[in-house]
C-alpha cells in the first residue's frame, strides 16, 4: 500500500457514533491510500462501516459522530482541520455520488436549476453548458430533462444527471456510495461505465463504496473488504475477488459462485452481519477457523504480497 505520492492518505481512522449505551466506535484502524486516477472499492455488508468511512473523508458524518485519525491528508492538506479545510474542497475538488439520487435533488426545482448551480460554481456561463454536460453522460433529450422536475425522471436518469453534475465539477476525488444499488442490472452497468469514462477524462480518483462484488470487480483497481468496522483484506481487485484469503471474503465468494454454479442447495455463510466487538478478531463470531488466539488477540494487517494485505491469524487454513 505504499503509493509514492498518494492523493488521499489515511492512517488509523476511527469513527465514533452516539449509541443507546453511550458513544460507540463503529469504525477503527482504517489505513488507506489512494493514487490519482485510481479506483478503490470499499466492500462490506450493512453495518460494516463502509459508508461511515466514505462520509468521514468528506466531513459529512451525521451530527454527534466524531472522527479521529493519525493521518488524514488530501493532496497535502490535513483534513483533520475540519470544516474550514473541507468546506472549500467539497463540491470543487471532492465530489460525491449517493445511493439515492432522489434525495440529492430539491424536489421543488427543475433539473436545469440544479445543473446551473453547479456550473456557476465552476464559473461556466455558456448558455448550452448544462445540455453539453448532460449529453456527455448519454442523455439524448437534454432539453427535456433540464425542464423536468426530479420526480418526473427515473432513478437511472437522475443518477446520470448526478454524474453529469459531479463531472462538471471535475473533482480530484469522487466518493461513490452504492451508486447502482437501487438500479436495474442493465442501467447499473451504464452508470458504472459513465463513472469510468469520467475518470478516464479527468484522471480523478474514485472511492467506490459497495456491497456488490461483481460491480467492484468491474470497476475497481483495488478493493478493501470491511468487516465490523475494520479492513480485513485489501489488495488488487483480481486477487481479492478471485483468490480471496480472508475467511469472510472466501465465504462471500463461495456463496456467489454456488448460485452461479446452480447448486441444488446453496453454500451458506454462517451467522449474520454483526456489530463491532471489543477485543479479538472482528470476524470472530462467524469464523469457522476461530481459536483461542483469535479470541484474545485482534490480528494485525500483514502483507501476503507487497500489494495484498490480510488481517487474519490463520491465512493458510
Amino acid at each position: 500500500m505504499t503509493i509514492a505520492t498518494p492523493l488521499l492518505s489515511v492512517a488509523d481512522l476511527a469513527v465514533t457514533v452516539p449509541g443507546p449505551s453511550g458513544p460507540w466506535t463503529a469504525v477503527a484502524g482504517i489505513d488507506l491510500a489512494l493514487a490519482r486516477g485510481e479506483t478503490l472499492g470499499l466492500i462490506g455488508e450493512s453495518g460494516s462501516g463502509k459508508t461511515l468511512t466514505g462520509l468521514a473523508l468528506l466531513g459529512l458524518l451525521p451530527s454527534g459522530a466524531r472522527v479521529t485519525a493519525r493521518r488524514l491528508t488530501f493532496d497535502g492538506q490535513d483534513l483533520r482541520g475540519g470544516e474550514p479545510v473541507l468546506a472549500p474542497l467539497r463540491g470543487r475538488r471532492l465530489g460525491m455520488i449517493v445511493q439515492d439520487p432522489v434525495g440529492a435533488f430539491n424536489p421543488a426545482k427543475r433539473i436545469g436549476w440544479h445543473m446551473r448551480a453547479v456550473l456557476r460554481r465552476r464559473g461556466d456561463r455558456r448558455p448550452d453548458a448544462a445540455a453539453c454536460w448532460l449529453s456527455a453522460v448519454g442523455v439524448r433529450a437534454a432539453e427535456r430533462v433540464l425542464a423536468a422536475y426530479p420526480h418526473q425522471l427515473s432513478g437511472g436518469m437522475l443518477q446520470r444527471v448526478l454524474i453529469a453534475m459531479v463531472g462538471a465539477l471535475e473533482p480530484d476525488l469522487i466518493v461513490a456510495d452504492e451508486p447502482t444499488t437501487n438500479l436495474d442490472a442493465v442501467v447499473a452497468r451504464q452508470i458504472l461505465d459513465l463513472i469510468r469514462e469520467q475518470q478516464n477524462r479527468t484522471g480523478c480518483a474514485v472511492l467506490f463504496v459497495t456491497h456488490d462484488l461483481a460491480a467492484a470487480r468491474h470497476l475497481c483497481d483495488r478493493v478493501a473488504v470491511m468487516v465490523a468496522g475494520t479492513i480485513v483484506e485489501i489488495g488488487p481487485a483480481s486477487a481479492v475477488l478471485e483468490a480471496p484469503r480472508h475467511p469472510y471474503t472466501r465465504g462471500l465468494i463461495a456463496t456467489v459462485r454456488s448460485l452461479a454454479a446452480r447448486d441444488p442447495i446453496l453454500v451458506e455463510m454462517v451467522g449474520e452481519p454483526g456489530r463491532r466487538e471489543t477485543g479479538g478478531c472482528p470476524f470472530l463470531s462467524r469464523c469457522p477457523h476461530a481459536d483461542p488466539l483469535c479470541r484474545s488477540d485482534p490480528p494485525g494487517l500483514s502483507a501476503l504480497r507487497p500489494d495484498h494485505f490480510l488481517r487474519c491469524h490463520h491465512p493458510d487454513v
Partner: protein
C-alpha cells in the same frame, strides 16, 4: 389459480390482459425490469389492488377481497424493516396473524408461534425482540414465519432477498426452497435476479410493460429465450427506456416491445401478439438478428 387483471389509473394501464396460473406448490418467478408491473401484479393477487377487469381464482372459486379466502394468500415484502410495526415485538406480529384469522385455540397460539420461529431457524429469544433489534436476514425469516402462520396456499414474495447482504441471501433462498418442500406452499417469486429465479423456480414469467411476454421452465426461458426482450434481459443488454415515450400511453393494439425491437415488422405495430400456448407473445421468434446492446456487469467467475 388464474388471473386476468386490467389495472387502470386515470393515465396508464399498468397491467394489461395478464393471465397466469399456478399449480399447488409451484414456484413461479416473475422477472422483468423496474416498472414492468411485477409488484403491481403481486399486490393485485393478494388483494391490495382491485383489478379494473378480470378475476382471481383460488382452488377453482373466485376470490373476493376481504373474505376468508384472503388467509390463503400471503405476502413477503422487499424491505423487511418497513414491513413490521416498529413498536410491536416480532413474536407478537406473528401472533397477530393467528389472532386475526382465528387459527388454533387461543391457548395454543403461543406454541404455534414458537414452532413457526424454529421452522425458520430462529429462537424464542428472537421472538421477544423488536424489529430494529434484528438483522435484515433475521427479519426476513420472521416475515416468512408470519406469512406461513395462516397456512397459506400461496405466498407472493416481492424481491425478498434483494435488500439483504450477499452473505445472507443464500440462507434465505435455501430457507424458501425448504419451506416450499416441507409445507407445499406455492410461491410467486418476484425478482430481477435471474440467478436466484433459476435456483428457486419451477417456471418463470417474463414481464415487459405490464404484459407477460414469455413463460416457461427456467432452462427454456433463461437458457433458450425465444422472445427478443427475454434474450436481451438474459444477455443483460441495454435498453434505453428513457429514450422514447412509454408505449403504454399510446396505441394498445401493438406489441409494446416493437419500438425497441430489431425484429419489428409492420404487423407488430398493428396487432398485439397474445401469449400463445407455448408461452410466447411474439410474432417473430426466430431467424432474426440478435438484439444489439451492451452487456450488464459480468458475474464473478
Amino acid at each position: 389459480m388464474s388471473l386476468a387483471s386490467r389495472w387502470r389509473t386515470p393515465r396508464m394501464r399498468i397491467l394489461d390482459a395478464v393471465s397466469l396460473s399456478l399449480a399447488p406448490g409451484e414456484i413461479v418467478g416473475l422477472v422483468g425490469e423496474s416498472g414492468s408491473g411485477k409488484t403491481t401484479l403481486g399486490l393485485t393477487l393478494v388483494g391490495r389492488h382491485r383489478p379494473t377487469q378480470g378475476t382471481i381464482h383460488l382452488g377453482g372459486s373466485p376470490v373476493a377481497l376481504g373474505t376468508p379466502a384472503q388467509r390463503r394468500l400471503q405476502m413477503v415484502f422487499q424491505d423487511p424493516l418497513a414491513s413490521f410495526n416498529p413498536r410491536r415485538r416480532v413474536g407478537d406480529a406473528v401472533r397477530l396473524a393467528l389472532d386475526v384469522h382465528r387459527i388454533g385455540p387461543p391457548s395454543a397460539r403461543g406454541d404455534i408461534v414458537q414452532a413457526l420461529f424454529s421452522q425458520v431457524g430462529l429462537s424464542s429469544e428472537h421472538a421477544a425482540r423488536f424489529p430494529h433489534a434484528l438483522s435484515g436476514g433475521q427479519l426476513q425469516r420472521v416475515a416468512l414465519a408470519r406469512a406461513l402462520a395462516t397456512r397459506p396456499d400461496f405466498i407472493v414474495a416481492d424481491e425478498p432477498v434483494s435488500k439483504l447482504d450477499v452473505s445472507v441471501r443464500a440462507q434465505i433462498l435455501n430457507l424458501v426452497r425448504r419451506m416450499n418442500a416441507e409445507t407445499g406452499v406455492g410461491l410467486l417469486f418476484i425478482t430481477h435476479d435471474l440467478a436466484a429465479a433459476q435456483f428457486l423456480c419451477h417456471r418463470i414469467a417474463v414481464m415487459y410493460l405490464g404484459r407477460i411476454v414469455e413463460l416457461g421452465t427456467p432452462d427454456a426461458v433463461l437458457g433458450r429465450p425465444r422472445h427478443p426482450y427475454t434474450a436481451r434481459l438474459v444477455a443483460g443488454t441495454a435498453y434505453d427506456g428513457a429514450a422514447g415515450m412509454d408505449p403504454r400511453l399510446g396505441a394498445r393494439e401493438a406489441c409494446f416491445y416493437a419500438s425497441a425491437c430489431s425484429r419489428r415488422l409492420p404487423r407488430c405495430t398493428q396487432e398485439r401478439p397474445p401469449l400463445d400456448e407455448t408461452g410466447l407473445a411474439c410474432f417473430h421468434p426466430k431467424d432474426l438478428p440478435p438484439e444489439p446492446g451492451r452487456a450488464a456487469i459480468p458475474a464473478l467467475a
